[in-house]
Subunit: 255 residues, 2 copies
């Protein structure tokens, strides 16, 4: 297997563990996003930009959202896959990355995602322009306008169901923040096991609006819309009434 590892594209081989997969045998959405975070962290380290180097600038990368598609055929635990990422383009405040998961032979693409990042001043807790030394190194183009991610529609009216989730210590990751991939465990769990066992996500979009912090309890609610053979769910995570994340997912029925 030949992996591309350049300044702009970085790929690794990964064997899916059973604990990255649900009882369908396929990876969960939250684990897929965790894997994507892992490969972009590895790309940064490969380019000499480890966490300490990034933190010296006084800031940190923050993801504002993802969108993307999933093949109806997903890999199973034990399978070897390729995880990849590309630094696509950037401007003063935003950087766009793509992520993919393919089979070993790269004949089948299981996942293709885009993510938009901003750079956050950690002391002032607000946006700062991206330090040039953290972005020019990838050789991706500086552009005026970046493509917008798909914006998930808001829940209208009353949600179908709402459940509370207390943030747990094990939701916190090595950056001392709630792992934002974990939001998907809260977002999808209210759909229930019967739905989750019989449906496969094929499209998704998520927008992160406010950080969820430890000691908080989130309320996760959703609505369902059926459109021909497609099922669309809209999701919201709120903390004390304030929307922290919105997501939209398109599902296929598993035959």
């Amino acid at each position: 297997m030949t992996l591309t590892q350049t300044k702009q594209v970085y790929e690794i081989s990964h064997t899916l563990t059973y604990y990255e997969c649900t009882d369908t045998g396929h990876p969960s959405m939250s684990m897929l996003l965790s894997m994507m975070t892992m490969v972009s962290d590895m790309h940064l380290e490969f380019m000499g930009l480890d966490t300490a180097t990034v933190h010296k600038t006084g800031g940190a990368w923050v993801v504002t959202g993802y969108d993307g598609t999933f093949s109806p055929t997903q890999p199973v635990y034990g399978q070897q896959v390729v995880l990849g990422t590309k630094a696509v383009a950037y401007n003063r405040f935003f950087a766009l990355r793509e992520f993919w998961m393919t089979d070993r032979e790269r004949k089948h693409e299981y996942v293709h995602l885009r993510a938009l990042f901003v750079f956050m001043n950690l002391k002032k807790r607000r946006l700062m322009s991206i330090p040039p030394q953290l972005i020019e190194i990838f050789g991706s183009p500086l552009v005026k306008r970046l493509p917008r991610l798909h914006q998930p529609a808001a829940i209208e009216g009353r949600a179908l169901r709402e459940l509370p989730y207390r943030v747990r210590y094990f939701d916190i990751d090595v950056n001392h923040h709630v792992n934002n991939a974990r939001y998907f465990d809260w977002l999808l769990d209210p759909l229930g096991s019967r739905f989750l066992r019989t449906h496969q996500f094929v499209k998704m979009a998520i927008k992160y609006l406010h950080e969820v912090r430890e000691t908080m309890t989130v309320a996760s609610s959703y609505q369902v819309q059926e459109k021909d053979t497609e099922i669309i769910t809209r999701h919201e995570i709120r903390v004390e009434g304030r929307v922290c994340a919105q997501a939209e997912i398109v599902w296929n029925k598993i035959k």
Copy 2:
């Protein structure tokens, strides 16, 4: 790196992901046990005993408990480690396995665990004798008496703190049961982030008494005992008053 892969011992190389680690940078207890389950599943598959073959006997392996020790120095995310397992010995109803995690050079052992398994008739939901074709193949000795695992002491009197945990869809694994490694997320979370950030587990014992199933809500409680420099915590998971799991953990303060 030379890995041993024989009928009795099976080792793999594994790179620790950030989502297998807590904000201390070290693997969580639940992820360590998940990794051990992974390597024993792989050993079974290596010997031609995949899940389908095991299920044809009408039963499944069930772990009754673990005990073991952890080095005060634990590996960090991104590090390559060796995960290993050995089929140690068995009798008509019980099988003993050992598990370890070491550094690449096998100079430092981070984790050493023992686990005792029984074989459960899935229809009758009760113990059955281990089918010979599932155990003789490993070449481990048939013995009269197996060593007993360390038995965690029960909580006496009132617990210090108790928190409820609703079983979530993503706690269910590919075997359609709650991943028993996940019990440790429920067991340890009530200790709180301040404790968990400043203490490293060095010994543990857990006894699984009754299965926790989906749709259940568990109550997780604990007590603390300080003994010189050692801190011992005792833990219990109950469902509607019935104890489902008991655990005992010895901790070192992180300087």
